[in-house]
Amino acid sequence: MENILVCDDDKEIVDAIEIYLSQEDFRIYKAYDGIEALEIIKSKKISLAIVDIMMPRMDGMRMVMELRKFSSIPVVFLSAKSEDSDKILGLNIGADDYVTKPFNPLELVARVKSNLRRYTTLGSMEDKENIYKTGGLVIDDNSKECFVDGEKIRLTPIEYNILEFLVKNKGKVYSINQIYQSIWQDSGSFTADNTIAVHIRHIREKIEINPRDPRYLKVVWGVGYKIEDEEPC
C-alpha cells in the first residue's frame, strides 16, 4: 500500500481527493500547508505528494524546493493557476506533473498512478534490442507491443506502425504526408487526407492521460507531429 500526501489549504478538496485515492487502495496523509506537508514527508514514508501552490505559511513552490533538497519522490502540483508560465515554473522547480483546478478526478488518479509506476518501475525494464522508449513510453518491436508507464496499450496495426515510426525518430517532426509515405511505403502523390491525423488522435487518446495536453505524442501545429525526445518534466 503506497502512502500519498495530499496538501491543500482547502479541506474539502483534500477530503475529495482522499475519497478518490483511497478507492484505489492508497493510504492518504493530509496536510494543509507546506510546513505541515514537509514534516509528514520527513516522518513518514511517502511515495507521492499532491501539492497545491497557493497555501498559507509556506506555499507549494517553496515547499517543493525544500523537498527536493532531501527527496526525489514524485510531486504533482494541483493549482488554480492555469497559465502556461505557471506550469513551466512549477515543472522547472522540480514537480513531476501539473494538474489545474478544477480537475477531472479520474485524470488526477491516472496521473498519480502513472507517476508512481514510473517512479517505482522505471529502469527495471532492461534495454533490449528493438526496444525503443521515451519517458514512460516503450515500444517493443519484437512483440509489436506498446507500454505506457509499464501498462500495455492496445493499438491497431496502423496506429502501431505510426507510433513506432515516430518513436524510432523521436524528436523529429513529421508532416502528415511524410508519415503517410513512410507507413504505406508510398511515394505517391499528395493526399489531402486527414486519415493520419485521425489515427494520431486515436493514438493520443490511448497513450496520453489527457489527450489535449499530451506528454509524448505532440502536435506541432501547422507542421506535423513528433514524439517528445526528452522525458517529460
Partner: protein, 817 residues
C-alpha cells in the same frame, strides 16, 4: 555691478573723451608718419622712418630725401639756365639753333638744315602761337615760294669727346659753317601748309628762304615750333625755380661751373661767388654751410657728408647731358647751421622734431585709450540699463543719433569743399588733430547713443515693440485681418488674388523694370505657396499616421509658418487626446483582465469542490430518479461554469493585449488537416461531414501556430455546436491578393446554422453573443470573440458572412516569403 544711471553718464563722458583722444592721437601719428612738404614743383610727400628716431635731422633719411629732390631740381634749373643765360644773366638776344636745340638729347648729323632765332623771338612766337595756312601751289609757284638752294649748317667738330654732345658743339663759336646746295629735285605743286612767318632768323630770313623742297620746309617748320614751345615751357619753369632757389628763399646753396672749349661759365645762387673767385676756396665755403656735396666728374672727385651717393648725382646730370659736359664742378650745400630761410628743409626739420620723438609714445597711449574704450563699451553694454528708459520710437532715436554722427563727417567734407584742399592735405594741417578730436567727440556721442539706445531696447525687449515699423505692420495686419478674417471664403481667397493680379498688370505696364519686379514678386508668392503646401503636407501626413493608429505621431511645429502652426497644434492636441484615450482604455482593459484572472482563481477553488463532490454523489448508489436527474444538471452546469471561467480569462487576456505572439512560418494546409483530424469524431457525433478543398498543396503563412490552432479550434467547435446536423461543412483554402496587392492565404469555413441567425455578423464576434438569443445551448459565447481577437493579434483578417442560414467565416494571413 555699477550703480544708477548717474554713473553711466560719467562713464559715457569718459568714453567720449577717450574717443576724442584716440582720434587726436591717430591723426597726429598719421600726420607724423607721412608729411607733406612744399618743394620747388608743388607738394612732396615724405615718410618718417622709425629708423630715423635716434639720428639727428641732418643724418635722417628725411633730410636726405628732401636733399635728393632739391638736387634734382637744382640740376634741372642749371640746365635751363644754360639755355637762356649768358654769363649768369638772362640773355634775350641769345641765339638758338632750332634743329640742334630740338635734338639736344641726341646726336646731330654733320650737315643739317636749321634756322637760328633769338630767344626773345622764339618765346614771343610760342606765346602768340603758330598759325598755318593751307595754300594751293602750282609747280611754278612752289619754285618761286621756296628757295632755289638749301642752306646747310656744317659742324666742324661734332665729336663726343670731352662729354660734348652735338648741341654743346653747335653752341661753340666758329664751329658751324653755313653753305648752300642747289635743290636736287624740283618742288612739286599741290596743297601745302604754310607757316605764317611772324619772326625772322637772326640773319633776317624766313624758313622758305632756307630750303628748296617741301619736305625740308615742313621739317624745319616743325623744328621751329617745337623749339619755341619747349623754350617757353622752360622759361616759365626758369622763373619759378630761380626764385625758389634764390639766396634769400632757400637754405640750399649751389655753385656749378662748366668749362666748354676753355671758357668757364658759372651758375650759382651766391652772389659773392658769381664774379671773380680767384683766391676763394669754394669748397671750404660750401663745407662751412654744414652739409655739402662736391662733384667733379672730370677729375673723378666726389665728396660729401650727406647720404647722397655719387651715382645719384651722376644720373641726375646725365639726364641733362646737353648742358653738362665732363668739365664741370658741382658744389651744393645746405645751410644747416642756421636754416636762415623757411624752406622745405626747415619744414622737414620742424616736422621731424615735432613728431619723431613722441610718435611711439602717442601710439601706445592711443592703443591704451582704445582698449579702455572697448572695455568700458563692453561693461556698459552688459549692464542692465544704460539710458533711463526712454520711450522714444526706435527709428526716431536711431535717426537722431545718426544725424549727430553725420555732423562731424559733413563738416569735414564741407571744409574740404570750401577751402578746396584735398582731404590728405587737410589731415596734415597743424590744428587738424584738435579738430579731429572734437569731431570724434561729437561722433561718439551719436555712436554710443545709437548703440546703447538699441542695446537698452533689446534688454527691455522693446526694440520691436517701440518700432514705428511694427506699428505700421500691425496696422496693416489688422486692416487685412478685419477685412478678410471674418469674411467668407470668396472674400478671403479672391480679393488677395485679384489684388495680386492687378499689381502684376500694373507692374507690367511700367516696362522692363516692372516686369523684373513682378517676376521677383511672383517668385516670392510661389515660394510662399510652396511653403504653405509643404506645411499642409506634413500636417496631412501626421493626420494620416494618426488615422492609421500611430497616435504618438506629432507635427513638428517649429518648421511651420503662420496659420499652419495653429492647425498643426490643433492636430497635435487631437493626437494627444486620442493617445490618452487609447492609453486609458488599454489600462482599463488590463485592469479588467487582471480582475477577471483573480476572480476566476477565486471561483476555481470552490468550483473544484463542487465538481468533485457532484462526481462523488454520482458514484453513490442513488435510488431516486429525480435526484439522479438533478445531479446530472448540477454536473453539466458546473462543467459549463468551468469552461466559462477559462474562456473569460482567455478572452480578457487577448483583448487587453496581454498575450505573447510568436510568429513563425507554418503550413496552413497541414494545420487544417491536423485540425480536421482532431475534430473527426466530433463532426461525426454532430452528424456533420467536413469537405476540405485546397487549391494548392502547400500554403505557407506567417502566424503563431498555437494561437492559430486555438482560432481553428474555436471555429470548429462553433460549427459542431451550431451547424444543422446532417449537413456538410465546407472548408476551403485559397490564395488571393488583397486590396493592396499583397498575396494572402484565406481559409473559409461555412455551414448551415441549425437555428435562425437573428443577429448581425458584427455582433456575433462581441463577447457573450451567441447565435441564439435564448442562451440555452452549451458554450460561453466567447468563442468567436476569442477567435477574432486572436486572429487580428497575429496580423490576420477575420470576416463573418451571414446569408440567411449560411454562416461563413473567412480568415486570412500573409503568405510567407
Amino acid at each position: 555691478m555699477l550703480k544708477k544711471p548717474i554713473n553711466f553718464k560719467i562713464l559715457i563722458l569718459v568714453q567720449h573723451v577717450l574717443a576724442a583722444f584716440v582720434a587726436f592721437a591717430l591723426v597726429f601719428v598719421f600726420a607724423g608718419t607721412s608729411i607733406i612738404i612744399s618743394g620747388a614743383k608743388g607738394d612732396y610727400s615724405y615718410t618718417l622712418y622709425e629708423s630715423d628716431r635716434n639720428r639727428a635731422y641732418e643724418d635722417s633719411y628725411l633730410f636726405n630725401n628732401i636733399l635728393g629732390n632739391n638736387l634734382a631740381d637744382v640740376i634741372r634749373l642749371i640746365a635751363i639756365r644754360s639755355q637762356l643765360e649768358t654769363a649768369g644773366e638772362y640773355d634775350s638776344e641769345k641765339t638758338i639753333d632750332v634743329t640742334a636745340y630740338v635734338n639736344r638729347g641726341t646726336t646731330l648729323p654733320g650737315d643739317y638744315v636749321t634756322a637760328v632765332y633769338t630767344v626773345a623771338d622764339l618765346l614771343k612766337w610760342a606765346q602768340s602761337g603758330f598759325t598755318y595756312e593751307t595754300r594751293n601751289f602750282t609747280e611754278e609757284e612752289s619754285r618761286s615760294f621756296l628757295s632755289e638752294r638749301t642752306t646747310y649748317t656744317h659742324l666742324k667738330n661734332n665729336l663726343m669727346s670731352g662729354g660734348m654732345n652735338s648741341y654743346l658743339s653747335s653752341g661753340l663759336s666758329d664751329n658751324s659753317v653755313a653753305f648752300t646746295v642747289s635743290g636736287n629735285s624740283i618742288p612739286s605743286g599741290g596743297t601745302h601748309n604754310i607757316l605764317v612767318s611772324r619772326y625772322q632768323t637772326t640773319d633776317g630770313r624766313n624758313i622758305e628762304d632756307l630750303v628748296s623742297n617741301w619736305e625740308e620746309y615742313s621739317l624745319l617748320c616743325s623744328n621751329v615750333e617745337e623749339a619755341a614751345k619747349t623754350l617757353l615751357y622752360n622759361f616759365e619753369e626758369y622763373g619759378k625755380l630761380l626764385s625758389y632757389y634764390g639766396y634769400q628763399s632757400s637754405n640750399l646753396r649751389y655753385y656749378i661751373s662748366r668749362t666748354i672749349n676753355g671758357s668757364t661759365s658759372v651758375y650759382t645762387n651766391i652772389s659773392e661767388l658769381s664774379g671773380e673767385t680767384t683766391g676763394i676756396d669754394i669748397k671750404s665755403v660750401f663745407e662751412a654751410y654744414g652739409r655739402y656735396i662736391y662733384y667733379c666728374p672730370y677729375e673723378l672727385k666726389y665728396e660729401t657728408n650727406t647720404l647722397i651717393k655719387e651715382n645719384v648725382v651722376r644720373s641726375f646730370l646725365k639726364t641733362y647731358s646737353y648742358a653738362y659736359p665732363d668739365q664741370i664742378k658741382v658744389y651744393v650745400a645746405v645751410d644747416t647751421i642756421g636754416y636762415p630761410c623757411s624752406d622745405d628743409f626747415y619744414q622737414g626739420k620742424s616736422s621731424f622734431t615735432k613728431y619723431m620723438p613722441y610718435r611711439t609714445q602717442i601710439l601706445i597711449l592711443c592703443f591704451v585709450a582704445a582698449f579702455i574704450y572697448i572695455l568700458l563699451f563692453i561693461i556698459t553694454l552688459k549692464s542692465p540699463l544704460v539710458v533711463s528708459g526712454s520711450s522714444i520710437k526706435t527709428e526716431i532715436a536711431c535717426l537722431k543719433n545718426i544725424i549727430i554722427m553725420a555732423v562731424p563727417l559733413g563738416a569735414f567734407v564741407m571744409a574740404s569743399v570750401l577751402t578746396q584742399m584735398s582731404y590728405m592735405k587737410m589731415i596734415r594741417l597743424e590744428n587738424f588733430p584738435v579738430y579731429a578730436a572734437l569731431g570724434a567727440f561729437v561722433f561718439n556721442v551719436g555712436f554710443l547713443g545709437l548703440i546703447y539706445g538699441i542695446a537698452d531696447k533689446v534688454k527691455e525687449k522693446s526694440l520691436w515693440k517701440d518700432s514705428i515699423l511694427r506699428m505700421l505692420i500691425i496696422g496693416a495686419k489688422n486692416l487685412i485681418l478685419t477685412t478678410t478674417d471674418n469674411g467668407n471664403v470668396i472674400i478671403r481667397t479672391w480679393i488677395p488674388y485679384i489684388f495680386f493680379v492687378v499689381i502684376n498688370l500694373c507692374l507690367f505696364k511700367i516696362g522692363l523694370a516692372g516686369i523684373v519686379i513682378a517676376a521677383f514678386l511672383d517668385i516670392l508668392i510661389g515660394i510662399y505657396l510652396y511653403r504653405q503646401n509643404l506645411d499642409r503636407d506634413s500636417i496631412i501626413k501626421v493626420i494620416e499616421r494618426i488615422k492609421n493608429g500611430d497616435v504618438k505621431s506629432k507635427v513638428d511645429v517649429s518648421s511651420l509658418h503662420s496659420d499652419n502652426i495653429a492647425l498643426a497644434e490643433a492636430v497635435n492636441s487631437i493626437g494627444e487626446g486620442i493617445e490618452k484615450a487609447v492609453d486609458t482604455s488599454m489600462k482599463d482593459e488590463k485592469l479588467k483582465a487582471d480582475l477577471i484572472t483573480n476572480v476566476s482563481h477565486d471561483i476555481k477553488t470552490p468550483l473544484t469542490s463542487i465538481i468533485n463532490y457532484v462526481d462523488l454523489i454520482k458514484r453513490e448508489d442513488i435510488g431516486n430518479e429525480r435526484v439522479i436527474e438533478y445531479v446530472n444538471i448540477l454536473d453539466q452546469k458546473s462543467q459549463k461554469l468551468k469552461k466559462l471561467t477559462e474562456d473569460l480569462v482567455e478572452a480578457s487576456k487577448i483583448s487587453s493585449g496581454n498575450i505573447s505572439i510568436e510568429l513563425s512560418k507554418i503550413d496552413f494546409v497541414e494545420l487544417i488537416n491536423q485540425t480536421i483530424g482532431e475534430f473527426f469524431e466530433k463532426f461525426e457525433k454532430s452528424g456533420l461531414t467536413p469537405i476540405f478543398k485546397a487549391n494548392e498543396k502547400n500554403i505557407s503563412i506567417v502566424a503563431d501556430a498555437r494561437h492559430l490552432w486555438r482560432v481553428l479550434e474555436n471555429l470548429f467547435n462553433n460549427t459542431c455546436k451550431y451547424a444543422f446536423p446532417g449537413t456538410r461543412v465546407y472548408l476551403e483554402m485559397y490564395t488571393a491578393e488583397d486590396k493592396e496587392g499583397k498575396k494572402k492565404a484565406f481559409f473559409s469555413i461555412k455551414n448551415i446554422s441549425a437555428k435562425e441567425l437573428n443577429v448581425s455578423a458584427e455582433e456575433l464576434t462581441k463577447k457573450f453573443i451567441r447565435g441564439d438569443e435564448s442562451r440555452t445551448t452549451e458554450g460561453s459565447g466567447l468563442g468567436l470573440s476569442i477567435a477574432k481577437n486572436l486572429t487580428i493579434a497575429q496580423g490576420g483578417t477575420f470576416d463573418i458572412r451571414l446569408d440567411g442560414d449560411l454562416f461563413k467565416v473567412i480568415i486570412g494571413f500573409d503568405i510567407a516569403e
